[in-house]
């Protein structure tokens, strides 16, 4: 059973207790193409649900990563800053963007589980 939840903007959050790990979905990395630059939030930064928390850029375009929930950042993933291609290679694992302490777990309820997200992707085809 996956504990991953997804937004309509193609971010995911994996939850363990009150800590969430945030990244972008495989669909998102594929749509973006080769990632050449990322900017992750610094530790201690407060992020709000739906607000810009990170930046991901491909050769052609820059996109924002919106936080799936509100909270306080506990770490940004330096590995993807050093090696942006990791976002393409492992979007839903090693290519995570940041971890945060979740401020309000009830915000998770509005996110989609894997099955709902997959169904949502079909509507975009």
């Amino acid at each position: 059973m996956s504990d991953m939840r997804f937004t309509k903007d193609h971010e995911w959050i994996k939850v363990a207790g009150d800590v969430g790990t945030v990244g972008i979905s495989d669909y998102a990395q594929h749509a973006l193409g080769d990632v050449v630059f990322v900017e992750v939030p610094e530790k201690g930064r407060a992020v709000a649900k739906g607000a810009e928390a990170a930046v991901v850029e491909s050769v052609k375009a820059a996109s924002e990563v919106y936080s799936p929930v509100s909270g306080t950042v506990t770490a940004g993933n330096q590995a993807i800053v050093d090696q942006p291609g990791l976002v393409n290679e492992s979007p839903e694992d090693a290519g995570w963007f940041y971890t945060l302490t979740i401020a309000d777990p009830s915000e998770l309820a509005s996110l989609m589980d894997r099955a709902a997200y997959d169904a949502y992707l079909k509507t975009l085809e």
Binding site: G33, D34, V36, F37, E39, S58, V59, K60, A61, A62
Partner: protein
Amino acid sequence: MSDSDTLLLNVPLDALHRELGGKMVPFAGYSMPVQYPAGVLTEHLHTRNAASLFDVSHMGQVEITGADAVSWLETLVPGDIRGLGIGKTRYTVFTNAQGGILDDLMVSKLGDNRLFLVINAACKHADVAHMRAHLTGGVTLRPIEDRALVALQGPKAAEAMVRLAPEAGAMTFMTISELSIAGIGCLATRSGYTGEDGWEISVPTARAEELVRALLAQPGVMPAGLGARDSLRLEAGLCLYGSDIDTTTTPVEANIAWIMNKRRRAEGGFPGAEVILGQLATGAPRLRVGIQPVGRAPARAHTEITDTAGNRLGEICSGGFGPSADRPVAMGYVPAAFAAIGTPLKLVVRGKALDAHVAALPFVPHRYVKA
């Protein structure tokens, strides 16, 4: 198919693009491949390492004929068309009365009374209307609607071309020739928009797919889309109409004053000559320059450029990540006093002022096969 798709024109190679997995996007009214499954980064690097085939059939092709064709075209462009040799190709621009640029184009001389023009897709209808409005007796203008245009670009382009058209090997940069390529009668210039060696090939629509399949069958040749074409031309420091040059920029400001020779500078006789020749004499207020961001963050078009004290200087006109340069690269307009190579600048990216400096163009050296 959505409603917006139905308004788009398809290029003759549309079915082949889809067969090759091209990601089709709207561009200048056409449905065009922005990339293939390899992706922009791979397509870009492959072009610099081997050879890529680009479909640029959305661009306009025009034939100008008549006893006065050459002198007539010189009334619309600041370039030296009279001095262009038969079989030679030259880059020039259409200017307006204010000295602004209406479009940039390639002019090839097929004979004393016969010119071949390649103009931008987004401008082609306006260009043709502009030319027709100024048409005089002794000049005939014919938009060529029954030919596709493809570009083969990269260090292995020559190998592929010579295998299919042995006489192509004798051509040098910026020359034009009628060639039989894989048995197909084509009109080809040794030119391109990537900074690499290569050809742009005009081919009858009915045989375009056959030609492209023959080129793609050559070792080292892969299809590439408009995404790679844009990052390649940016690294090569080449202007994109609508981004780097437009009706608000003169050729002097755009730093392409080299398109004018001594005679045209002395004689004028093209739209906006007073403004352009005035800028040549006293200097342009601003100039297009290469800009090197210091960090890893790309600075995209319209990014604000400031001096080190934060005073606004201008904007980035083209910017992104250069896959071959392996760093962000950009071009922008700055006041002439800030145009010297090495001048420190700031780029305001997402509210942060990032370090940058004026850099020499191109970012990646051109590798043309010159005479």
